[in-house]
């Protein structure tokens, strides 16, 4: 695959990643957010495969495969299982109104491009908008984590933010070393498992909401 074609494909995939990110941001129901983050992981996996084909880097093939298996299949499956098990309400409650979140997202886009411009010339493996797109993904993921009440949806925000970090790493340096990538994915999976167990345990023993933990603060 030629580099120009790979650049164009990565560009389009970056657009799709941004769109799925916005879907997570506006999702009104837990399942929609989970499906959107699964779709995002699929696009990320495809982006990895495209880069692997373009650069001939074998590690990237493995990373793309792990991304799709772990992030697009296993983690969403786990989240859906938790949602089904604890019978939480499926409406996503947010701390700030939805239109304000969208406005903040638009602000984040401008901020990400400003950051990108202020970094000066960065030697990227893939030219184009990959760096600001990655930054936008990371920051909107943080916004999702900060603005949602449910631990599950905050987890979705974390996955999305993580996807952004992967995308940035792939686009700038053709991926981090394989061992680090695998370590990061393991971290995320472990985090999800801990969150899932915690939510199930908390729910079964004290029947509470994450927001209730606020009252424990001094």
């Amino acid at each position: 695959m030629s580099v120009e074609l790979a650049t164009r494909l990565i560009d389009v995939l970056g657009g799709l990643l941004l769109f799925t990110m916005l879907l997570i941001l506006v999702a009104g129901q837990v399942f929609r957010a989970i499906y959107a983050v699964a779709a995002q992981a699929v696009f990320l996996g495809i982006a990895g495969a495209v880069l692997a084909a373009a650069t001939g880097n074998v590690d990237l093939w493995i990373i793309a495969g792990i991304t799709i298996v772990a992030k697009a299949v296993f983690l969403p499956w786990l989240l859906i299982r938790v949602v089904r098990r604890v019978h939480i309400s499926r409406e996503i409650e947010s701390v700030i109104p939805a239109h304000l979140t969208l406005t903040l997202a638009a602000g984040i886009v401008v901020l990400a491009f400003h950051l990108n411009a202020s970094l000066g010339p960065v030697r990227q493996a893939i030219t184009g908008n990959a760096l600001p797109v990655g930054l936008t993904l990371i920051l909107i993921g943080v916004l999702v984590m900060a603005s949602r009440r449910k631990a599950l949806v905050q987890m979705v925000g974390l996955f999305a933010s993580e996807n952004g970090i992967f995308f940035t790493a792939m686009a700038i340096s053709q991926g981090m070393p394989l061992i680090i990538e695998i370590g990061v994915i393991l971290d995320v999976v472990l985090g999800a498992l801990v969150m899932g167990i915690l939510v199930l345990r908390v729910r079964s023993s004290v029947d509470t909401d994450i927001a209730d933990l606020e009252s424990l603060k001094g």
Binding site: L22, H99, L102, V109
Partner: protein, 316 residues
């Protein structure tokens, strides 16, 4: 360079085509919806019959309505049909027209003018539903129009002009190399098209239930030929929006000259594009429920942010 005469003749031919084909698009969407609901559905020609029926009827008018009320349907239809002059329906211009008729900004402005006239008419008649429909329609308009402009601008930046015809011609030459901004702008346009054509997540074209209707609420006071004009304007607006999406994102198969083969090809391409987009409208309408009115800003906000992102990716 095409002469002024051919330019005007082609514009008139395009306008006639859009006006004549517009009810058919509505009929097609209704047929598709009926099929998806396992009904046989009315014939695709039903909108024409409805229009013919309305044209034969007399006009009944509220006592409180001002004389201006009578003129509103005609003005709405005129404003809507004029927008077809700014669109490359069959022909792409070869260069800057000798008699420029307007660009995308004027197109959106004319649609806004039609919306404004319709709302004024609804308020003028003094009915309660009219006022409610008008206020809702203007709220939706407030959210849709800036986002529509952003989406159009993000494409216009890549083509270097706001003239939709030139834009289509130049982008066709680029061999349709889609980039991320195009994709996001297309998604934004597809979301906004649902609102602009009054389709289900935003408005329900089939219902006259007072609590849910937006567009229909404004038509209640109109009757007879006046109502026919407004209904035709609604059909035309729908086709204009679909043509705008096609011209911005799929500018394929536009004719340059007047050879019959070329025109037939352009006609075929136009029909294919419109059928594809109308199928999208019908599928969405069949698979989603209408949003609560207070959730509509969030839905349209998604379109707005997509359009904003498209422009940001293009410009920043």
């Amino acid at each position: 360079m095409e002469t002024t005469f051919t330019h005007v003749a082609r514009t008139a031919a395009q306008a006639a085509l859009v006006v004549l084909a517009a009810p058919l698009v509505t009929g097609f969407i209704q047929k598709l919806k009926a099929r998806l609901q396992c009904r046989r559905g009315a014939s695709v020609w039903q909108p024409y019959r409805d229009l013919a029926k309305l044209l034969r009827k007399g006009t009944v008018q509220s006592d409180t309505a001002s004389p201006f009320f009578r003129a509103i349907p005609v003005l709405v239809l005129a404003a809507t049909v004029t927008t077809t002059a700014m669109l490359p329906v069959l022909w792409a211009p070869l260069g800057v027209a000798t008699l420029p008729l307007g660009d995308a900004i004027l197109l959106v402005a004319l649609l806004a003018l039609a919306r404004f006239l319709l709302a004024i008419g609804a308020l003028d008649a003094g009915g309660a539903f009219g006022g409610m429909g008008a206020s809702r329609e203007m709220t939706v308009g407030l959210l849709v129009e800036p986002a529509l402009m952003l989406a159009v601008f993000s494409v216009a930046v890549s083509g270097g002009t706001t003239d939709v015809g030139l834009l289509a011609a130049r982008r066709e030459a680029l061999a349709l190399s889609w980039t991320a901004p195009d994709l996001l702008a297309l998604i934004a346009m597809l979301i906004l098209a649902l609102a602009e054509t009054g389709r289900i997540p935003v408005d329900n074209p089939d219902t006259h239930l007072e609590l849910t209707m937006l567009h229909e609420g404004m038509l209640l006071e109109h009757s007879g030929p006046g109502l026919a004009c407004i209904v035709l304007a609604t059909h035309v607006k729908q086709l204009v929006i679909l043509t705008l999406v096609a011209a911005l994102f799929l500018p394929l198969g536009l004719a340059r000259g007047s050879a019959p083969v070329e025109i037939a090809l352009a006609l075929g391409a136009f029909a294919l594009k419109v059928v594809a987009l109308a199928t999208y409208l019908g599928l969405v309408e069949s698979s989603y429920a209408k949003l609560r009115l207070f959730r509509v800003p969030q839905f349209l906000g998604l379109g707005f942010v997509c359009a904003f992102l498209a422009l940001a990716l293009r410009v920043l």
